[in-house]
């Protein structure tokens, strides 16, 4: 009898296998009538609460489901958002916003100035513990509130009536308008927060004031958005549903794009890039991006402490053309400045050696290294730390071999997992040279230059130059854009001469975009609102 059971078990398991497979097949959804946009996303948003979010991915998602006072057009120009118009006082300290009459939440209720005031106060409230609270740092009383010394109600933000919001600043902040496009400054509905507490961002609870609303979120898999019928510009929204597929591996995104399962990828893998370019010349979109990839020096410890010549030698010996053409190869711009090109109202200063050929630079670098006291009899030995990743590894290997071949420097590579590297960079105990990067939060040179001020927490090298700090301070007080720009550019000149960092290249945004997509616009911020896109009428949903 028992033997039968065993044979039976085998047969049963086959049946079970079939049944399981069958059970997994959900009935196909009816998508024929609606246009569905399939986008790739490189990681889950950590939160859809505008005040809890911090990543680029979360910000991209929030741009589809929310809207700030201002917004960006498809080509990256600042345009009206929830506010129809605004005025700025003569001294640049008072901003008055007039909300549009038809701004609506996804439940049909109007978006009021009071909602904005509530949300901005919530952002700086210590109880919220928002990462981006510092974004509003220039608003009256913001710093005291963040430090817990004043109640959030004291923030220099006032809802004069339902449709008028006044923001008062402590110093002119010309980039305030672009800050107000950033999802941290998006409104949340006070009633939703009060009713659902932490759960107010759940699908079903979340009230959105953007072009789309959240239908479902399967962590690690997909976020499903659908049209917000109450959005003021709903008539202009072409695509009915958007699916963001969370795919951490760039290769997977590529494969799914090629299999016709994605319209837009969140990125493009670095390997085989030449082949991708050949296969998809029309679909590949490369555009400059506000981000700098750099190697920093630990300025608090030897051998780099008080040794700008040595730092300059290492900086000059890196052949950035080889780096961007042969190693990264995705159209990145070699970096000879700290602020990327393409920033509004700014012209980056460049290293003096930028105009030289690489051979001249190498010769000069060897000279500098010898002056610093290193040579064949006393080779420089340094440690380069980078975070575990294929691209970072390749660049580190290339730079290691450049330093060896040009200068005879012996570099030890140490790859550390990202959080470990961050901890080490901040401690400045074991680091010598380390990899890092900075992505601009808003389209202004200030977002890059400010982190190099002495004492700025993101100032990884530990750079401190009083002349630099003074120039930055003066720039902050200028109302006249021209004069402000002059001070910022001067500050960058000082920074570059000190070589606290080696800027290697400026990032580019990289996407594969299906030819079925209409309305895609490359821009330096890499913002691509789904509401600006549409699908070619013939395109079948993939």
């Amino acid at each position: 009898m028992k033997t039968f059971r065993l044979a039976g078990a085998l047969a049963a398991s086959i049946v079970l296998l079939g049944a399981l497979l069958f059970a997994c097949s959900d009935p196909a959804r009816d998508e024929a009538v609606e246009s569905v946009l399939q986008r790739g996303l490189t990681s889950d948003p950590e939160s859809l609460d505008p005040h809890e979010m911090r990543s680029v991915q979360a910000a991209n998602l929030l741009r589809d489901i929310g809207e700030g006072l201002l917004s960006y057009s498809a080509t990256g120009e600042l345009v009206a958002g929830a506010a129809a118009e605004w005025t700025i006082s003569e001294d640049g300290l008072t901003y008055t916003f007039h909300l549009r009459e038809d701004a609506r939440w996804s439940n049909g209720q109007p978006v009021t100035a009071g909602h904005f005031a509530f949300s901005l106060r919530r952002l700086v409230d210590p109880a919220t513990a928002a990462f981006y609270a510092q974004m509003l740092g220039d608003i009256v009383n913001a710093q005291d509130i963040i430090a817990g010394d004043s109640p959030p109600a004291d923030l220099g933000v006032e809802a004069v009536d339902d449709r008028t919001l006044v923001i008062t600043l402590v110093r002119p902040t010309p980039y305030l308008l672009s800050l107000l496009t950033y999802p941290s400054t998006f409104p949340v509905h006070p009633d939703a927060v009060a009713e659902h507490g932490d759960a107010f961002t759940r699908a079903g609870n979340l009230l959105s004031n953007g072009a789309y609303k959240l239908d479902a979120w399967e962590p690690g898999s997909v976020l499903e958005l659908s049209r917000n019928e109450h959005y003021w510009n709903n008539a202009a929204t072409a695509i009915d549903e958007v699916r963001y597929h969370v795919l951490t591996q760039e290769m997977t995104q590529l494969n799914r794009f090629r299999a016709g399962e994605l319209h837009i990828t969140g990125s493009v893998p670095p390997d085989n890039f030449a082949q991708i370019r050949e296969e998809h010349p029309e679909e590949l979109h490369i555009a400059p991006y506000l981000g700098v990839y750099y190697y920093g020096f630990n300025l608090t410890k030897p051998p780099f402490k008080g040794n700008p010549e040595l730092r300059e030698a290492l900086s000059m010996a890196v052949d950035r053309d080889v780096l961007v053409n042969r190693i990264t190869g995705r159209g990145e711009e070699p970096a000879y400045s700290w602020v990327p090109p393409g920033v509004d109202n700014y012209e980056p200063r460049r290293f003096i050696y930028a105009e030289q050929s690489q051979d001249e630079r190498n010769a000069h670098a060897r000279l500098l290294l010898r002056e610093a006291g290193y040579g064949p009899e006393k080779p420089l030995q340094i440690e380069l730390r980078y975070n575990t990743s294929d691209t970072e590894k390749k660049i580190a290997l290339a730079v290691q071999s450049m330093w060896r071949d040009v200068l005879g420097v012996e570099t030890t590579l140490v790859n550390e997992e990202f959080q470990v590297l961050l901890a080490n960079m901040r401690d400045r105990e074991v680091t010598q040279v380390f990899r890092s990067s900075w992505i601009g939060d808003y389209n202004d040179a200030h977002t890059f230059l400010s982190i190099m001020e002495g004492g700025n927490p993101s100032n990884m090298p530990g750079y401190k130059n009083d002349q630099y700090d003074a120039l930055m301070q003066q720039a902050a007080e200028q109302v006249d854009p021209k004069s402000r720009r002059y001070h910022l550019e001067e500050a960058e000149r000082v920074l570059l001469a000190d070589h606290p960092v080696i800027p290697l290249y400026f990032y580019v945004s990289k996407h594969l975009v299906s030819p079925d997509i209409i309305g895609w616009g490359d821009n330096v911020l890499d913002y691509h609102y789904s509401q600006h896109l549409s699908l070619a009428p013939t395109a079948a949903t993939p």
């Binding site: 085998l10 097949s25 196909a28 950590e46 911090r54 962590p219 690690g220 898999s221 399962e261």
Partner: protein, 307 residues
């Protein structure tokens, strides 16, 4: 039997405690915290966040807090997925991993046993050698090579199967991951079955049966299969472990939101609560599964129980 099972369950409690303490200490020993970023926060904001998540308390206080929650079945909020709790995340991820693992396991056992028995019956013939050569190759190629090759071939080039997970409904999306996951196990089980089947076929009672004129099919089905399955059954424990390991890779490559992928992500992000939650969950699972395997083993082979 029931007493035995209960005793084993009781014995599992110290194991679980050890797992919890070890995992807790390890995640907290790892440099960096869950909220670190290149965009370093100002001291005030950092303090606000630490206070909000009780990360400013001494470690033992944090442990008591966590443990107290655990006893009430609360695994806490995820630090990385701030809109979700750990229980929720495990709740959505585990069924997916379970389906994937179960299917891979069934596939591996069914095909492995069939191929192994087939090879054993034709010992030292060409079919035997080809099956075994295939099995050896299957063991010798890492999953992270098999999986992308399968995707490139079947999904990208031939477009027979979907390349990814989300947005593809139905059974087809399970096919590639399950195959990639099962292949090495098919190979291993085939080898085990073949070896033990050959032993059993050479044993006295099979020879007796053969002498009585029973056909090969009957002998295998009624006499040989069950004893030959014993080594396979005791391999189930390691196989479950292997599939767990493999699923980390497969989930990563196919973008499947299962527990393995969440764990790797959580470990990298210092999502303390999620790491702990998954480790505790898995440890419990493995303990239970081992128990089941032991009981099954006892059911087939009464000698074990007598021990």
């Amino acid at each position: 039997m029931l007493k035995y099972a209960l005793l084993r369950l009781l014995g599992a409690i110290p194991t679980l405690l050890l797992v919890i303490v070890l995992a807790f200490l390890m995640v907290h020993a790892a440099p960096g915290g869950p909220f670190d970023d290149e965009r370093v926060l100002s001291a005030e904001i950092e303090a606000n966040i630490a206070a909000a998540y009780h990360l400013d308390e001494p470690l033992h206080r944090q442990f008591y807090r966590y443990f107290a929650g655990l006893l009430q079945g609360d695994l806490g909020p995820s630090y990385r997925y701030r809109d979700h709790t750990v229980s929720e995340l495990i709740g959505t991820a585990f069924p997916i991993s379970l389906k994937l693992g179960t299917m891979a396991m069934l596939l591996a056992v069914v095909f492995g046993v069939a191929a192994g028995s087939f090879a054993a019956l034709r010992r030292n013939t060409l079919p035997d050698r080809s099956v075994m050569a295939f099995a050896m190759t299957g063991i010798s190629i890492p999953v992270f090579v098999i999986a992308p090759v399968l995707v490139l071939l079947l999904a990208v080039k031939l477009q027979w199967l979907p390349a990814g997970w989300s947005g593809n409904e139905g059974a087809a999306r399970f096919l590639l991951p399950v195959i990639a996951l099962a292949l090495p196990q098919v190979a291993y089980i085939a080898r085990l079955t073949r070896a033990s089947m050959i032993d059993v076929l050479a044993s006295d009672f099979v020879r007796t049966a053969r002498a009585q004129g029973l056909g090969t099919t009957a002998i295998v089905r009624y006499h040989a299969l069950k004893p030959a399955m014993l080594p396979v059954l005791s391999y189930m424990g390691p196989a479950i472990a292997a599939i767990l390991t493999g699923s980390v890779v497969v989930e990563e490559i196919f973008g499947i939101p299962g527990l393995g992928q969440f764990f790797v992500r959580a470990a990298l992000n210092r999502d303390y609560t999620l790491v702990l939650g998954i480790v505790i969950f898995y440890a419990t699972l493995v303990i239970l599964l081992n128990l089941v395997v032991d009981i099954l083993y006892g059911a087939i082979d009464p000698r074990i129980r007598q021990r």
